[in-house]
């Protein structure tokens, strides 16, 4: 089992005899749209907060589990998967930014349509073990229907094959097998424009300064193929919208505030009772 560490090589292990076509694929753990953009639920919660006499600033939607802020350092954790052709395959992982956690053997229930459109093979993204159920007849290219016995549908690793090129759909229910890693990036939000020295000294020790615009990360997996040649695959990591939003700067160039204020603090908004003009807004002890 690979035990990847941060931007380091993984101990090579022998492949099983069954492996013929050797590969490794990368996918990022899907990011729900609720982590990309606010939805009407968030709106309701913020309105409810305001109507309850609390500050809507207090509301932090809980669908952004990718980031924590500790002592001003933003730690972003982005899970991703390595799907090897053989669970014994040795692979190397590198990241253009951040560090990579050791791999953890991973299996996940999957259900999907294996679509054969005038073809005799379907290649899934991962090693798959499960049941395949035909949901329509098997048709040859000339439109004639034929019978295919279950024994003629062969699954090898990620590959499902039929006895000849056909058009059909098989419903797959089972498990995919691979390894789960996490890319961990620690950054400090870009300093205000009034403090440019901090950016100029970005190479100093400690987390780098980043804004939403320049935060990019890619993962590379490398392995030896059946001919002993090095192959690789690259995955550009998607940064969730809620993380980018956190790293955005305000209109005056200053970083947005940390929404995870210490418990007990509330954002007080002072306004004129004469004309409603906002006089002051600040965090204060809520007691």
């Amino acid at each position: 089992m690979p035990t990847a560490s941060a931007i380091t090589s993984i101990v090579k292990q022998p492949l099983s005899d069954a492996a013929v076509d050797i590969w490794a694929r990368l996918t990022q753990e899907p990011i729900p749209s609720s982590a990309d953009e606010a939805n009407i639920k968030d709106l309701h919660q913020m309105i409810a907060a305001a109507m309850a006499g609390e500050s809507a600033f207090e509301y932090v939607y809980d669908s952004c589990p990718y980031v924590v802020i500790i002592d001003g350092v933003v730690r972003i954790t982005l899970p991703f998967f390595v799907w090897p052709s053989d669970l014994g395959l040795a692979y190397d992982l590198t990241a253009s930014l951040g560090t990579i956690s050791p791999g953890v053997a991973y299996e996940e229930f999957r259900s999907f349509d294996a679509v054969f459109d005038h073809t005799d093979s379907y290649d899934y993204e991962a090693i798959f073990v499960g049941e395949l159920t035909p949901e329509m007849p098997f048709f040859r290219d000339d439109g004639t229907e034929i019978k295919v016995q279950p024994s003629e549908i062969v699954t090898t690793g990620s590959l499902v094959t039929l006895p000849e090129p056909l058009t059909t759909v098989l419903r797959a229910e089972g498990k995919a097998y691979g390894f789960r890693h996490e890319l961990v990036i620690e950054v400090v939000k870009a300093a205000p424009a009034a403090e440019p020295a901090a950016e100029e000294e970005g190479e100093a020790a400690g987390p780098a300064l980043y804004t939403a615009q320049d935060l990019e990360a890619a993962i590379t997996v490398a392995w030896l193929d059946e001919n002993g040649e090095t192959q690789s695959d690259i995955l550009d990591m998607k940064i969730p919208g809620c993380v980018l939003d956190l790293l955005e700067t305000c209109e005056d160039g200053t970083p947005k505030g940390d929404p995870r204020r210490p418990p007990g603090e509330l954002f007080y908004l002072y306004h004129s009772t004469c004309n409603g003009e906002v006089l002051l807004g600040r965090w204060e002890d809520g007691k």
Binding site: P32, S33, S34, N39, I40, K41, L43, H44, Q45, I47, A48, A49, M51, A52, G53, E54, E58, Y59, D62, F109, R110, S111, F112, D113, V115, D117, H118, E135, M136, P137, F139, R140, D141, D142, G143, E145, T167, V169, R171, E173
Partner: protein
């Protein structure tokens, strides 16, 4: 300036059966599965002032999603078998529909319309036509042969073709696959005939799979609702408490 020429020829040739048909899913109405800014503002106003909340079309209701598959046979008499891998089909409806297409020529003299052409209504140059040198010229004669539109000379220009095509509509209702862990609305329509077979995977509306995964219900196909066990409203303040029920308050 239009420099039109009349239809000079329309050839309706007997078509080989093996051209078969075209499969197409009816497009989802614009905005399906999305919440617009206006709807957000209206939702806020509804919450604050007790107004009717805006309707939101998720494209999915308690019975699943409802869509349609269009079949365009090249031969109106084509006999084909059909089916769907998941869901229920309604009785097909045959109708000749009028298509208006703009066919662009880029120094070419032969282009095609998109659907099987059963009856030509008109073909014309609605706008200026240019020669290779960029000069405005009189539109060359146009002819239509089957689905092929020909210009008598290679030019730059756009022809407007209005024609009738046979469209057979298969209504389709797809319930969620309750026993599936993902891809709950996945389905495909198939059609076979003497000479070929085609498959059309059905696209669910945007966000439908995720709504199902997170149990965001869209009952009645109009209003987004959230189950009561989802995020409760924020903790009440010392002054005033308002409790929201995402099933009842946002109907």
């Amino acid at each position: 300036m239009p420099t039109a020429s009349a239809i000079t020829a329309f050839v309706r040739r007997p078509r080989p059966v093996n051209r078969g048909l075209i499969l197409e899913q009816a497009p989802w109405p614009k905005g399906t599965g999305r919440v617009s800014r206006l709807q957000i503002i209206l939702a806020a106003a509804a919450r604050l002032f007790g107004l009717e909340p805006p309707e939101i079309d998720c494209g999915v209701d308690g019975d699943g999603l409802h869509t349609a598959v269009y079949v365009y046979p090249y031969d109106p008499d084509l006999a084909y078998g059909f089916g769907v891998t998941h869901g229920t089909l309604s009785r097909p409806i045959r109708a000749y529909v009028t298509q208006r297409e703009l066919v662009s020529f880029s120094l070419t003299s032969e282009e095609s319309v998109e659907y099987p052409l059963q009856e030509l209504v008109s073909v014309d140059w609605p706008d200026e036509v240019w020669s290779e040198e960029g000069a405005v010229i009189t539109g060359p004669a146009l002819s239509v042969d089957g689905e092929t539109v020909r210009s008598a000379a290679p030019i730059y220009g756009t022809a407007e073709v209005i024609y009738k095509t046979l469209r057979i509509t298969h209504g389709l209702q797809i319930p969620a696959r309750d026993d599936a862990v993902e891809n709950v609305y996945q389905s495909a329509f198939w059609a076979n005939w003497a000479g070929g077979v085609k498959l059309l995977p059905i696209k669910p509306p945007e966000g439908a799979e995720e709504d199902y995964a997170f149990r965001i219900e869209c009952t009645g196909g109009s209003i987004l609702q959230f189950p009561p066990e989802d995020d409760p409203p924020p903790a009440p303040s010392k002054d005033r408490t308002i409790t929201l029920d995402y099933c009842e308050d946002f109907k």
